[in-house]
């Protein structure tokens, strides 16, 4: 037996039987038949498809199944329930017959049992006067009495959705195989301890996955289970098999969170780049890799500079934390803080970051402003908003709006003179007045009132400035001025 993994669903029957059913065992056989069947080497009864190499795989799975039985026997002291829902010993012949009764229009009892034990059929017989879904019509759907219920048969017409059927679907389409896997049943069994997903040895993965592909509910359980026990490898194999490429990619990518070492994490991210993400996500993943690569370089360099103690900025403002694994904007802030004046050619220069990651102007200006304001480098702030036109005139322009500039400067405790300068640049008069009042830029308030010819507001503001201050004098001068035509 190949060591590895086996998926195991025990639904109140002997373990081995469960898997056999799952593999498309011919139904309506007596136990003796079954034994013979399983111990013989006639594989023809399997009806997966016509590929020749199925044979070798089946050999493997058969071995696995047989070894499972051993495993079960070993477990006899365990208190797993071995009795079916009607109290019959699991695996007994009559039990097997009932288990498969729906297939061939069998005894009434069998139906009754089915009726009571699977949600699908119970759903089918909900009192819906308008629907033709009686239980009997449900079973009539099986047209070939005594025929084999082969797996492929069952697969072809019971896609995942049928487990949560909607009204109005022709009942005949449902094969009772789906019953075994209805969500409520599965959940119920899982919780009652009647399903054991038991991973120990291998049932050839290919076969296992193929079986699960058509049993969405069971599949979901397996995926959930693999996540829970952290079997990333099998999970990835499964996604690969199912062609759920994006999920595969994401699941692989998620792994990086568990890697602490930055270099290893970087290498890992590199392996994510080619994965089938959506176009936008691919770009993000690429950026993620590039960013970490940069951060590693910057970190090594700066740690060295800092410990050497020769660089002023690091001495004055020791780094609080490493830049590794920080978001892009944080990295940009860091670079604007410590490496603002560097030439574009260096990895740590803000301009380089801006270009490499196509950081929009707005974002760049905001971040640079915050970093330079924190350092109280007002000249840099000034330069950030100064543009020269072709005649050589300079003009102030802010892609984020000057009201935002003021807010950020204020947050960084900029002196009033500086604040005032930028408050004045706010275009909207009301906003300007509000900001000026909020941040006590007296001159701006006074001038605005004058421009608005709003005597009342100026008068009111007089009480807010210090007694005997220059501002008060200025207000008094304006109020007594005969030059202004006040509007109120």
């Amino acid at each position: 037996t190949t060591p590895g993994l086996i998926l195991f669903f025990q639904s109140g029957r002997r373990l081995g039987t469960g898997v056999r059913l799952g593999l498309g065992l011919r139904m309506n056989r007596t136990k003796g038949d079954e034994e013979e069947y399983w111990n013989s080497s006639k594989f023809k009864a399997f009806t997966f498809d016509d590929e020749d190499d199925e044979l070798s795989q089946l050999k493997e799975s058969k071995r696995a199944v047989n070894s499972l039985r051993d495993f079960v026997d070993d477990d006899d002291d365990d208190d797993l329930e071995r009795v079916s829902w009607t109290g019959e010993p699991v695996g007994s012949i009559s039990w097997s017959i009932k288990e498969t009764a729906g297939n061939s229009g069998s005894t009434h009892e069998g139906r009754e049992q089915l009726k009571s034990r699977n949600s699908f059929s119970s759903y089918a017989q909900l009192p819906k006067p308008t629907s033709a879904y009686s239980l009997s019509s449900f079973f009539r759907g099986r047209t070939r009495p005594g025929s084999f219920q082969s797996l492929s048969d069952a697969l072809s017409d019971t896609p995942a959705k049928s487990y949560a059927p909607e009204l109005g679907r022709p009942k005949g389409e449902y094969r009772d195989y789906s019953n075994d896997w209805s969500p409520s049943d599965t959940v119920r069994r899982l919780r009652k301890g009647k399903v054991l997903i038991f991973l120990k040895r291998t049932l050839s993965k290919e076969i296992l996955f193929r079986e699960l592909e058509v049993r969405q509910i069971a599949l979901r359980h397996l995926i959930h289970f693999l996540k829970e026990i952290g079997d990333q490898k099998m999970l990835l194999d499964l996604f690969r098999f199912l062609d759920r490429t994006e999920e595969l990619a994401l699941s692989h990518y998620r792994e990086h969170l568990n890697i602490q070492d930055p270099d290893k994490r970087k290498e890992f991210l590199k392996t994510c780049i080619g994965l089938p993400f959506s176009a936008e996500d691919s770009a993000h993943i690429q950026d993620h890799y590039t960013l970490l690569e940069r951060q590693i370089i910057i970190e090594a360099n700066d740690r060295h500079l800092e410990s050497a103690g020769q660089t002023e900025i690091f001495r004055k403002h020791p780094r609080k934390a490493s830049i590794l694994n920080m978001p892009l904007v944080t990295t940009l802030f860091y670079s604007c803080f410590y490496h603002y004046t560097e030439a574009e050619g260096t990895f740590s220069s803000p301009v380089n970051l801006k270009k490499t990651f196509k950081i929009p102007d707005k974002q760049y200006v905001l971040t640079a402003l915050a970093a330079r304001a924190k350092l109280r480098a007002w000249n840099d702030v000034d330069a950030l908003f100064t543009t020269k036109n072709w005649l050589g005139y300079t003009k102030k322009r802010a892609p984020i709006g000057f009201h935002r500039v003021v807010e950020i400067l204020h947050k960084n405790n900029a002196p009033v003179q500086i604040l005032q300068e930028y408050v004045n640049l706010v275009e909207d008069v009301d906003t300007k007045l509000n900001l000026a009042t909020k941040f006590k830029c007296h001159d701006v308030v006074i001038d605005s009132c004058r421009d608005l010819k709003d005597r009342q507001q100026l008068l009111a503001y007089r009480s807010k400035v210090d007694k005997g201050s220059a501002e008060e004098e200025k207000i008094d001068a304006l109020l007594s001025s005969s030059q202004i035509r006040w509007k109120n």
Binding site: P127, V187, R188, G193, R220, H288
Partner: protein, 576 residues
Amino acid sequence: MAAHLSYGRVNLNVLREAVRRELREFLDKCAGSKAIVWDEYLTGPFGLIAQYSLLKEHEVEKMFTLKGSRLPAADVKNIIFFVRPRLELMDIIAENVLSEDRRGPTRDFHILFVPRRSLLCEQRLKDLGVLGSFIHREEYSLDLIPFDGDLLSMESECAFKECYLEGDQTSLYHAAKGLMTLQALYGTIPQIFGKGECARQVANMMIRMKREFTGSQNSIFPVFDNLLLLDRNVDLLTPLATQLTYEGLIDEIYGIQNSYVKLPPEKFAPKKQGDGGKDLPTEAKKLQLNSAEELYAEIRDKNFNAVGSVLSKKAKVISAAFEERHNAKTVGEIKQFVSQLPHMQAARGSLANHTSIAELIKDVTTSEDFFDKLTVEQEFMSGIDTDKVNNYIEDCIAQKHSLIKVLRLVCLQSVCNSGLKQKVLDYYKREILQTYGYEHILTLHNLEKAGLLKPQTGGRNNYPTIRKTLRLWMDDVNEQNPTDISYVYSGYAPLSVRLAQLLSRPGWRSIEEVLRILPGPHFEERQPLPTGLQKKRQPGENRVTLVFFLGGVTFAEIAALRFLSQLEDGGCSEET
């Protein structure tokens, strides 16, 4: 004890007693002195059904939290682990048991799985070689925990995530189980309505479970008339919006856990204590919030704007009551005054607490940013500018506000626009990833998977139709004396509760079209009752509806349901 549970239309003390009895029975199985080792998560929910005194009566002498390595010393005969069925917890238990064996006298080990035994866990214990050490391995199905006279909770925080993200329907099974327990105690619920995929599945499970019990007829006269099962994903909008009821805001700002809230202690410093209040309490103030507290029962569901006036009115009443003492002249009067004193002091304490909480909340609600956020939310919900990049959201990202806040707003916009335009979505995504870190690709994918965030498909926005038909946006709201459920969000009427309202009057047939737009099937099932148990409806008698949210409910929705039940029916709400 737990008197507040019996105030409602349905006496939930019956349920509480039933679960307590089950707990006692288990404890008595393990004869002799015992120590309980707790999965810390469970202590909250258990606290709602039993105090330590109950455990003590059954010889529980020590309690520990589950931790690695050795168990603390305890001179007891039994060690019982109370755990959720989680693999990582099994590893810890095994470690405990293995390190135990080497010392002193042997003790009996037991495990109580809450809410369900799991073979997977037992297998893990077996692999670790300790399964045989346990004498009793049992399950304790604590599905529905009574919270209040009209509120039950499953306290399963992850239900939404499990159902919609991971496709794990275990919590649905628990819900169905819980509802069966409820029916066993309160009678079969004759009519089941539902909307959504999960609702359908829970109903199916219930019907099948009922069929399996065919042997024993439930002979209890039904207390509930209707059950309404609602999928959370039918209404993703409501939980995204900021709740504006008193209780809702407490939850938004401080988070209510198992009906307890932890508050910053500064405001609760004991005043005028002899030693001049030199040592301020540093530990968070923990308060239990439920309708057992008279004042809280009155204000919990009010819009926050209406809370202040109630508090000040109460303050006047209480101080007037205390003034009464000056008028008490005769011995009889004084005696009467004194007899009222404990009640008055409790009322004063309660008033002081809630005044402090209201102040804390007010600090938040009066902030400029709160106002801006609310404005944007209300614009979205009333259908304004949902199709372009929103400036406020952009600012929030730029200023690195909490990611949760940003995502809530973006998702709200997405829901109110039936998905975002691809360009808008891509823009938000890029901004978020650049500011908060690329690893949030995973976060965003999860949101998409859950349907909270998505690109608009087919270029059609259904939200306006839904909004208009269900009257989700009301322009004139009376926050003080509400006339409509929309007061709980100051304008927005929670979709889920509107569905409940329309179901009772005039019935869902009138809104078939909208129901079809909302995700998942809607359905109606009848559970036939034997003739003896059928209700003969008296005129003027109200129906009792049990509303069950699969995947969580907000406090504001509960408030809205309580409001409805005052208007017409007896209601009983519940969350998972």
